[in-house]
Symmetry: C2
Subunit: 477 residues, 2 copies
């Protein structure tokens, strides 16, 4: 059953929600009287289509349908999730939620992206809204703070996990929830530092991204301090640093006055820092950086890495054709060189992914490896035929050339999205006992499975390029 999401209010946040739901296979209805809404949302979608799929080594579901509505009732019809992302004005939000409460399906989840209002305040008009507060870019950052009715938040959390996000239920309502309260604290102190000429906006930003900012992408405040406390632990850390809280280190007692002068100072410093890049260039740079770092965290499974791995496990494995499809995914930016061309190492990474998937298909899966058996690659031959680029779709099919005894001889075809051959990888693997590191026979179950594929594929045409040596003339065969 395809779910439907209704997005009320475009812009950066609303557009981000459109992208998240749409690229996860939901149908999306948009209601926004702004004549510019469709243009703004399509810009966010453009960013999202090059970014979100790049986080995964499998394909996302096919996009749902996106429809723009003039009529709120029609936009809400049949909706599973209604998300309001209009400007932070209480009266406006009340007006919208009064109408939504009348027109939305009785069991629809109704969320507000509000960064400031408590659900009790939103629901003063008798609606049943929960706070579902995301972070920009919504199509990449997984966090959504959920506040409000426990039952509705729990159901909302399930949906959010199903689209690869990380729901965080806030135990008690409070203005600005959790993260923005922390950001507000930093913002105030930062304004003081700029105002008092301690540093420029650029210097403050470097003080973040060259230091604790890097730490906080993978472990938060308390875990970081726990480590700093060493073997003595968290209590020791607090005993060491606790008293510091009484020191007048920060001017947080006071709110700096937001004068025209201060605004100009900051605007000018920001232009000097970042003005040489357009906003679109900055957005794409930010997204490429986030993708690279988030993919890096998949390896250890820390933080967002765990969210990505868990979601990837739910994505469908590549399907069957005449030849098994062993890879079906988007080529991420991080696989390409400066000329946007996929770097040769990643051809072999795709091949290794194909080999792993084929091993699963014959029963030599993670459990098999954990039990002390595996296949090691001993020789590979790659023909680079056509260039591949970031954002393109890559499919790999695998043909068994032979599979008996200790050996498994495979031929991977790397296909471009138009079906054209991009590269071939012929590869020989040997079965190994992981404990002794000596070659060994596979289990009977795996051997049987492999033999069946070998028999089926023996009836197929032998691939072009099997048995090539480097530089062999093409008219010699």
């Amino acid at each position: 059953m395809t779910h439907k999401a209704t997005i009320i209010g475009g812009g950066v946040i609303g557009g981000g929600w459109v992208a998240r739901f749409l690229l996860s296979g939901w149908d999306v209805a948009v209601f926004d009287p702004d004549p510019d809404a469709e243009r703004k949302i399509s810009e966010v979608l453009g960013n999202a289509r090059r970014a979100l799929p790049a986080l995964y080594d499998k394909s996302l579901p096919a996009e749902g349908d996106l429809v723009f509505y003039d009529n709120l009732g029609a936009a809400l019809d049949g909706s599973t999730w209604v998300q309001e992302s209009v400007p932070e004005r209480l009266k406006l939000k009340h007006k919208i939620h009064e109408e939504v409460a009348k027109l939305a399906p009785a069991d629809a989840i109704i969320g507000s992206s509000t960064s400031g209002f408590k659900p009790s305040k939103l629901n003063a008009v008798g609606s049943r809204v929960i706070v579902a507060h995301p972070f920009n870019p919504v199509y990449l950052l997984p966090l959504v703070e959920l506040v409000g009715d426990a039952k509705i938040c729990a159901a909302a959390g399930d949906h959010l996990r199903s689209i690869g996000m990380f729901p965080l239920i806030v135990r008690k309502e409070i203005e600005a929830h959790i993260a923005d309260r922390l950001l507000e604290a930093v913002w105030r102190e930062a304004l003081w530092l700029i105002r008092d000429g301690i540093c420029s906006t650029e210097e403050l930003d470097e003080a973040i991204r060259m230091g604790f900012g890097l730490r906080w992408a993978q472990m938060g405040l308390f875990e970081t301090y726990r480590i700093a406390g060493g073997e003595a632990g968290m209590k020791h850390f607090m005993e060491q640093f606790g008293p510091a809280l009484s020191w007048p280190w920060s001017k947080l007692m006071d709110v700096p006055e937001f004068t025209e002068e201060l605004v100009e100072l900051i605007a000018g410093q920001s232009d000097a820092q970042s003005g040489h890049k357009s906003i679109r260039e900055l957005e794409r740079l930010r997204d490429d950086n986030l993708i690279g770092m988030m993919r890096a965290l998949k390896k250890s499974g820390s933080g967002v890495g765990e969210v990505l791995n868990a979601h990837e496990d739910t994505l469908p494995t590549p399907g069957q054709r005449k030849l098994p499809v062993t890879v079906d995914r988007m080529i991420p930016q991080s696989w390409t060189d400066c000329n946007n061309q996929m770097n040769e190492a990643h051809y072999l990474e795709a091949s290794a992914q194909a080999t792993d998937r084929f091993m699963e298909m014959i029963g030599a899966n993670a459990d098999y490896v954990a039990s002390g058996n595996s296949y090691f690659t001993v020789e590979s031959h790659i023909q680079f035929v056509t260039e591949l680029h970031a954002g393109e779709h890559l499919v790999v099919t695998t043909q068994v050339l032979s599979g008996s005894g200790k050996r498994m001889h495979l031929f991977h075809r790397l296909l471009r999205q138009d079906g054209k051959l991009a590269a071939t990888v012929e590869t020989m693997l040997i079965h190994v006992d992981l404990t002794s590191r000596a070659t060994s026979l596979p289990t009977e179950a795996v051997a049987k499975c492999l033999a069946r594929f070998a028999r089926e594929h023996a009836e197929l045409e032998l691939p072009q390029g099997v048995g090539r040596y480097v530089g062999e003339r093409r008219d010699e065969k």
Copy 2:
């Protein structure tokens, strides 16, 4: 000339400085009366040796000498940089700096890792100390806040850049400098949120690392908000959100009381969150995550990525042997699978790195490519001989099998640190005109250079495995 650094005070920060200097090729003298100092420092060094070299695709310089001293004068003799990292007690720091001022070389840079004191306060005793405040882990995070005498800070900055760090000169002195003031602000707000039961320590940490924490690893506060302000820019952003500063969103007006009850609450929640991993395990997980993300940022050159790229450019390129050495580096954790074995794709990545380096050696360097010429790989053949592991040293030598006309036929040998052959990659490249994407002849200069190597290498033994096809029997040749 080998520089010498004198580290006063071991522990996590002092040990981190030891590692930074030592692994950058400086000699290091340590003075710390704590009988446990040598043990603690060697633990930090153990972490650093598996982490810092993994950031780079080239080898770091050979380690300097590390000597522990009982006598401060001897420890200070001939020192270029003296770094004090003793506990945050002013009287203790004064005592040390009075002595250091008498005994250190007149032109030595004297830094304090103090997180709180202003240089004017440190120098009340007539010393000439600057604040050089690093971030844990010092052997990975690049930021060092410098405060104090402008001339000394400038000289200190040069040294820090030369060891791959990012110096940030703070324009005016203030307690806690820049970053810790921001952290203090977050800490206070966080304590309120825990105390008032809005969230647990684990939930607060997720609110950071699943959201804005990821953003801040690659762009700071002001740049992030500039993007959020959209095309209208920073001024618009501030006009939109400026008024929010007057709202009582955060309880920053007040400092929460640090009761035994609050300490127990936090300690308990921290244990529940992270207690299943030892501190050493958490440190290594943190370091692996940081390495993965920092390496990811090298691609765009954002933030720490730029620092790493700039420092890597200063590292010596691999030297000559009978065959040119085209790769000489440590194998990072991020190149290995769960069984700690280097993944096959990275064999080809090392080979691609070797090819790139060889191209530089014949004049087909970045400028050549920028002018519209390059070599594209058309075919590669890999023999996987021996396993490689994270932390091991990898050297690649390159032999030219033929190089004339449009073709370049190379043979890379991947060697383990004991000289044993780990893998071979035979690869054929074709010269291409990047504009037309058609094959083309190299320039005369490059052709000449390549031909010279080809002539020299023709006199060497033909490598084992040239011209192999996958699965070829070894007794057939």
